[in-house]
């Protein structure tokens, strides 16, 4: 399959961008680890979440923040490709066109998994413990991978449409803040009415609750299906909008 081979070649190229500047992975993991330290050792003592240790409660939300900060690099790399002219070079070559965007998306997926692993290791060092079996860990990896795919396709949109580097990466800020208004840091039942309603009905809560349940070794409940439905919906919408932005971009006439 020529499209698969093209995707592999182009993914190899953008992975090399990451290995050339490993700071992208370190920066991605640094902020979530700083949040872990801050919430566990500074604020955590005053936060009441029940019987669990706070870091075990906190980690799923921190993983969502890791994904949100990781995918913004896709917007950055795509933007730089468009600026430099190499995007057009690929388009004027006998290269399967879907491979050009998929290479960026797969690069993001792999880089995000590495960042997630770094954050989990840091959490283990800080006292995070899980009794979950291999199956539950795989399920966690699966749902976080799907979320990464969905948010990466979302990141493709500013990557294709932004007019400045800052604009290309700025979309991630709301994504990073969304976990704060969810069950990621504190249980939602401490929040006042409208905020609580929002927190309980936004995707981060469903995702965080599912991951927390899986890591605690509980059998998957309805929140897992709600989380999967959210992620699938975000993925479908983001992919459709990204393809629309892509078609508009390659049809653009200067």
């Amino acid at each position: 399959m020529t499209a698969l081979a093209d995707t592999r070649i182009l993914t190899g190229r953008s992975l090399r961008h990451i290995t050339r500047s490993p700071d992208t992975i370190i920066t991605t993991a640094l902020m979530p680890i700083a949040f872990l330290l801050l919430f566990v050792y500074v604020l955590g003592g005053a936060i009441e979440v029940g019987a669990d240790s706070y870091i075990t409660y906190l980690l799923p939300g921190i993983l969502v923040i890791t994904i949100a900060s990781s995918v913004s690099y896709t917007a950055f790399r795509l933007f730089m490709d468009l600026q430099g002219g190499i995007f057009e070079r690929f388009h004027s070559m006998p290269v399967a066109r879907p491979a050009i965007l998929w290479a960026h998306v797969l690069t993001s997926l792999l880089a995000t998994y590495v960042s997630l692993a770094v954050v989990v290791l840091a959490a283990l060092a800080m006292g995070f413990r899980s009794g979950a079996g291999i199956g539950a860990w795989l399920a966690v990896a699966g749902i976080l991978g799907l979320l990464t795919l969905a948010l990466t396709w979302l990141a493709v949109i500013p990557g294709l449409t932004a007019t400045s580097v800052d604009g290309a990466s700025a979309f991630a800020y709301p994504l990073i803040l969304l976990p704060f208004v969810s069950s990621a840091f504190v249980p939602t039942d401490t929040m006042p009415g409208p905020v609580r309603w929002f927190a309980e009905h936004q995707p981060v809560t469903a995702i965080v609750d599912s991951v927390r349940g899986l890591l605690a070794g509980e059998t998957a409940g309805s929140e897992l299906w709600v989380a999967l439905a959210w992620v699938a919906a975000i993925l479908a919408v983001a992919y459709a909008l990204a393809m629309k932005a892509y078609r508009a971009r390659i049809a653009r006439t200067r």
């Binding site: 090399r16 050339r20 430099g84 002219g85 190499i86 057009e88 006998p94 390659i250």
Partner: protein, 256 residues
């Protein structure tokens, strides 16, 4: 099959109300170098972008190596190589990695050997292991050109290949283009500078107000002017000749 490597007929393109191409007709014979001459905004880049399948024409047709760019873009892409105004190299990768990337995407057999050959030919072998981001303007343009030559595409499109280059680097690019055509490759290049067209091209086509108004050899173009009168004038060296003499340059390699 026809003998022309590029055939353009009745090509039109407008940006909103602005008609840039108003019925362009042009044939480029196989193995020739044709310079497309025109002032800024004459539509040269638009024409190149249509030929390289990056843009669609509003009307008319264009084909490269027998592949219609609108109906069979995949075939057209396999037959052409584009070097645009932006040096489309990956600054993070080294010169060699840039070359290998394109070689693999074009499925060049034995990519390593093909890359080494072209790097040597364009005087880049010494800089091959350095990141392209550290290259000078002339080196980047030569790398860009070298990337375009991988896989021996029969048609090369060069959009202002020497814009922004110093005279030395420009001569290096010219030498590379001449060598290409000698090897049977068809070259269509755009330029704003008349001496580039004069130095390089077998034929010159002038694009003006959306049409090709003149198309011929330099001799044919000269014949369009009134017969020359003979005057005795001291020939002053051009500043370019002075510059090249002072820095002692033959087609020099860049040191950095």
């Amino acid at each position: 099959m026809t003998a022309a490597a590029i055939e353009i007929s009745g090509l039109r393109h407008a940006y909103g109300d602005l008609e840039v191409l108003r019925g362009v007709d042009l044939d480029v014979a196989r193995g020739s170098i044709v310079a497309l001459l025109g002032s800024n905004g004459a539509g040269k880049t638009t024409l190149i972008r249509i030929l390289s399948t990056l843009q669609r024409a509003d009307a008319g047709r264009a084909s490269v190596a027998g592949h219609d760019v609108a109906a069979a873009p995949a075939g057209a892409r396999a037959a052409i190589s584009l070097t645009g105004q932006l040096s489309a190299v990956d600054e993070v990768l080294t010169g060699r990695e840039n070359m290998l990337l394109v070689a693999r995407l074009r499925r060049v057999p034995d990519p390593g050997a093909a890359v080494d050959r072209l790097l040597a030919r364009l005087d880049l072998a010494g800089a091959a292991e350095r990141r392209a981001g550290t290259y000078s303007g002339g080196m980047r343009r030569r790398l860009d050109l070298a990337m375009s030559l991988l896989g021996d595409p029969p048609v090369i499109l060069l959009d202002e290949p020497t814009t922004g280059l110093d005279p030395e680097a420009r001569r290096e690019v010219w030498a590379a283009v001449r060598e290409l055509a000698a090897g049977g490759t068809t070259v269509l290049l755009t330029t704003q500078t008349l001496d580039e067209a004069e130095h390089l091209a077998d034929r010159i086509a002038i694009l003006h107000e959306g049409r090709i108004i003149v198309d011929g050899t330099l001799a044919q173009l000269r014949a369009l002017l009134p017969a020359p009168t003979v005057e005795l004038v001291e020939k002053q060296p051009t500043l370019e000749e002075v510059f090249l003499a002072v820095i002692g340059a033959k087609p020099a390699k860049e040191a950095s």
